[in-house]
């Protein structure tokens, strides 16, 4: 399946949950916010919701400091 991830087309062999997608890119789950097709789903759904063909996803990375 093809998804648009952070502005680039990415080919996935199989659907991934949001948590698996975050892990795949070596990011820390607690510091990433997932935007999917313009929405910000609840974090409690990240382990169950899977990517679908054509999804537009942004993995937004929060880093410390302020």
């Amino acid at each position: 399946m093809k998804i648009m991830l952070n502005g680039e087309t990415v080919e996935l062999e199989a659907p991934l949950t949001f948590n698996e997608l975050i892990d795949k890119y070596d990011m820390k789950r607690e510091t990433v916010v997932v935007e999917i097709n313009g929405d910000l789903p609840d974090k409690s759904t990240y382990g169950a919701t899977q990517t679908k063909d054509g999804d537009v996803i942004e993995l937004i990375r929060f880093v410390g400091g302020g």
């Binding site: 910000l40 990375r61 410390g64 400091g65």
Partner: protein
């Protein structure tokens, strides 16, 4: 034609100049501000103008100070901002600077939240003074902001924000600003606040440490109601500190996004 001089509606002739107003209403004034801009006495006045006349060094009453504080604001901005309510969550490097900017802008009501006290290592970037070390950040911020703008309604909250206490904290806010330090807190807060307050605009920051170029800062829109500022890379870590020049730029961008949000329909820039 109708204009306003020092907040009083008056009727004047078509060919009136700024100097004519000065002569008639405040002959000892040495500063003339026309629609937010300092002008010379030959500047022509047009219908609907707002003119402020100021004498340098003059002692003023509270009422005059109140309207003169925003005399350099673009017309209509002060009135709109005075009707707005915003929250700043975290009063550290980002939040203390954002709060100060919003107080100078004259936002009508500010909810300002922090649980911590000021320590010496805060002073390199946070809007506090050496004699305030040891004070609660909420108390010190309140003390400082009242000196800048005493006409704002300040709602100081000495609390620790968690997922469980976000809902109910920001009722009626036009803008909610995330100004925390920790990455996990930032991510949690942005998601929760965006969902709990879909009618408010949420403004956050990520990646403000070190001394990277200001040109690396981006502003991204997320979800339906979130804007985020930063380079999304430069985390605070061993060997990369947090310093005034870069943190203050990010704070300024956050504050500017906040006011632009509530002024969207009247801004020309």
């Amino acid at each position: 034609m109708q204009i306003r001089v020092n907040e009083t509606e008056i009727n004047i002739d078509d060919k009136t100049t700024a100097g004519d107003l000065c002569a008639k209403y405040k002959s000892d004034a040495d500063i003339i501000i026309q629609n937010g801009h300092i002008v010379k006495s030959d500047s022509k006045i047009t219908a609907g103008d707002s003119v402020y006349l100021i004498k340098r060094g003059e002692k003023l009453g509270e009422g005059e100070i109140k309207y003169l504080l925003t005399a350099r604001h673009t017309p209509k901005v002060a009135k709109r901002l005075a009707e707005c309510k915003m929250a700043v969550c975290g009063l550290g490097g980002l939040g203390s600077n954002i709060a100060l900017a919003l107080a100078r802008m004259g936002v009508g009501e500010l909810i300002l939240i922090d649980y911590d006290v000021i320590i010496p290592s805060n002073i390199n970037r946070q809007q506090y003074y050496i004699d305030q070390i040891g004070m609660k950040k909420t108390d010190a911020t309140h003390e400082n902001l009242k000196r800048v703008n005493p006409f704002i309604k300040y709602d100081m909250r000495d609390i620790f924000i968690e997922k469980s206490n976000i809902t109910g904290l920001f009722d009626g806010c036009d803008v909610i600003i995330e100004a925390f330090d920790g990455a996990e807190t930032k991510a949690m807060f942005i998601m929760e606040a965006a969902r709990a307050y879909p009618d408010a605009h949420i403004v956050g920051a990520s990646g403000v440490a070190g001394l990277g170029s200001h040109e690396s800062f981006k502003v991204v829109s997320v979800g339906r109601n979130v804007s985020l500022v930063g380079d999304f890379e430069a985390e605070a870590k061993i060997g990369r500190g947090l310093m005034s020049t870069r943190v203050t730029i990010a704070a300024g961008i956050q504050a500017n996004i906040a006011v632009r949000h509530v002024l969207a329909d009247i801004l020309e820039d």
